[in-house]
């Protein structure tokens, strides 16, 4: 039997991974809806806990929406690699001849497509309920779409680090939340600026820059973290 030369086929592998993860998520449709419902639920909790007063709610709405979206993204991240770890596919992913950063990037991409993007699209509806001015909806959605991509990328590092631990959930939050803070500040800032009739472009630009940085660095960090976890 001859030695097999490493073939390219990276495109095939990435496409198949994206397809597989999409199938997995869509097969359990509830997986896709759950973060959205969580988002809506958390937003519902705040008026119940704070007060139904519209003015007060409008004042704190950008922050509430952003924090809730952040929590929803982060919670859904917990399962990003856990399923693969439990059934041994992660082991196999690491042993595949394809470059690991590219493969994990495609997993993160699917996560964002099915979590971050729908969250961004849904945020205006909840904004309505919190009496947020209609004019700020576009910026709200855009800032969330950009920001949640960074959140997915950064959060995936934490998910990869904790995948080997049986009770990752809460620990993951700790690792990841501090890294989320810059995204949160500029994201919520963008919405607030629009409400005050300012120009949100600088904030959005910074969010974009954060995304670029995350895109460049985190695939490697995720891959390294996965290798460490599997070693345990």
């Amino acid at each position: 039997m001859q030695v097999v030369e490493p073939k390219a086929g990276l495109g095939v592998a990435i496409a198949a991974t994206v397809k597989r993860d999409l199938t997995l998520m869509l097969r359990r449709r509830s997986e896709v809806i759950n973060p959205l419902v969580f988002f809506a639920l958390v937003i519902t909790l705040f008026p119940l806990g704070i007060s139904p007063d519209t003015e007060l709610l409008a004042a704190i709405a950008p922050g509430l929406l952003w924090v809730a979206a952040l929590l929803a993204t982060q919670l859904s991240l917990d399962t990003l690699f856990r399923g693969d770890y439990d059934d041994g596919s992660l082991e196999q992913l690491l042993l595949s001849p394809q470059p690991l950063p590219a493969l994990v990037l495609s997993k993160v991409l699917v996560h964002w497509l099915l979590t971050g993007l729908p969250l961004a699209l849904m945020a205006p509806v909840l904004g309505l309920m919190l009496a947020l001015p209609v004019g700020s909806f576009a910026v709200l959605a855009l800032s969330l779409a950009l920001g949640s991509a960074s959140l997915s990328l950064i959060g995936a590092i934490g998910a990869a680090l904790t995948v080997g631990l049986s009770r990752g959930g809460v620990l993951l939050s700790l690792l990841v939340l501090p890294l989320y803070i810059p995204v949160l500040i500029f994201g919520a800032g963008a919405v607030q600026v629009v409400i005050l009739d300012g120009n949100a472009a600088p904030h959005l630009a910074i969010l974009g820059a954060q995304l670029c940085l995350a895109l460049m660095l985190s695939p490697w960090a995720i891959a390294a973290a996965l290798r460490i976890s599997i070693n345990g």
Partner: protein
């Protein structure tokens, strides 16, 4: 008594009896809904305060009432399934949940749309509105839980337990939400204190409510029959029935 319950629980018997019932309910539903709609949209007088936006009541209130009844029905079906293991009850619960969620959504949407011309806002954190929203979440939870299990039997039982827990909680939630809103601020808008409605306004409403109920029964019968076909597809009588329909074309 027992024999009767079990006969009722037998899918075959249910399939036969519902075949006879469902055309009547469909016909009645269509009739009532058509009459009610035309009456409510065209003939009923417009409200002296709210004008024509008032006509939303004819879909809003029936949907709101039905949404609540659906949850109770679903929970009762869940109990029947858990205690007596009658599969029909679970099939009915499975088809009621999405419809109930849809009705809840209709009530929320029509309420929101009604709120804009009347209150000048789409949404306020009013007690009734809030508890309706929570009910939507409860529905979504039941649906999601049922779908999350790989094995259908477990999904059914889990959804039944959750529906039961939910129905125990609904009065508590309602009570506390009422209480919450009176605590924080005097209710800005009340749904209950309305000017006494003239007969020509509430009669079409009654027709619509009855129409919605008939529609609900008809739809549940039809979809439960589908569910029977799906779940009992291996049974002899279903196979014969399917072969029969095939021959007929």
């Amino acid at each position: 008594m027992w024999a009767f319950i079990h006969k009722l629980g037998s899918p075959k018997w249910f399939y036969a009896i519902s075949a006879r019932l469902q055309p009547w309910f469909w016909a009645l539903a269509i009739l009532l809904l058509l009459v009610g709609s035309v009456w409510g949209l065209v003939f009923a007088p417009s409200d002296y305060q709210q004008g024509n936006s008032f006509r939303i009541i004819y879909v809003h209130v029936p949907a709101a009432i039905l949404a609540q009844s659906c949850f109770v029905t679903m929970a009762v079906a869940g109990v029947i399934f858990l205690v007596w293991k009658i599969k029909i009850a679970d099939m009915a619960a499975a088809v009621i949940a999405p419809f109930g969620a849809a009705m809840t959504f209709v009530a929320l949407f029509s309420g929101a749309v009604w709120g804009m011309p009347t209150w000048g806002t789409w949404w306020v954190w009013d007690a009734r509105l809030t508890s309706m929203l929570i009910q939507l979440f409860l529905y979504l939870g039941v649906i999601a839980l049922r779908g999350a299990f790989a094995s259908r039997d477990s999904g059914s039982r889990a959804a039944s337990v959750l529906a039961l827990v939910g129905v125990v909680n609904i009065p508590i939630i309602k009570y506390s939400v009422d209480w919450w809103n009176t605590l924080h601020q005097p209710a800005t808008f009340t749904l209950t204190e309305r000017p006494a409605m003239p007969v020509e306004m509430w009669l079409p409403l009654l027709v619509m409510v009855l129409g919605f109920y008939c529609f609900f029964i008809a739809l549940t019968l039809t979809r439960t029959r589908n569910e029977i076909l799906r779940r009992e597809s291996a049974k002899r009588w279903v196979r014969e029935l399917v072969a029969g329909t095939a021959r007929r074309g």
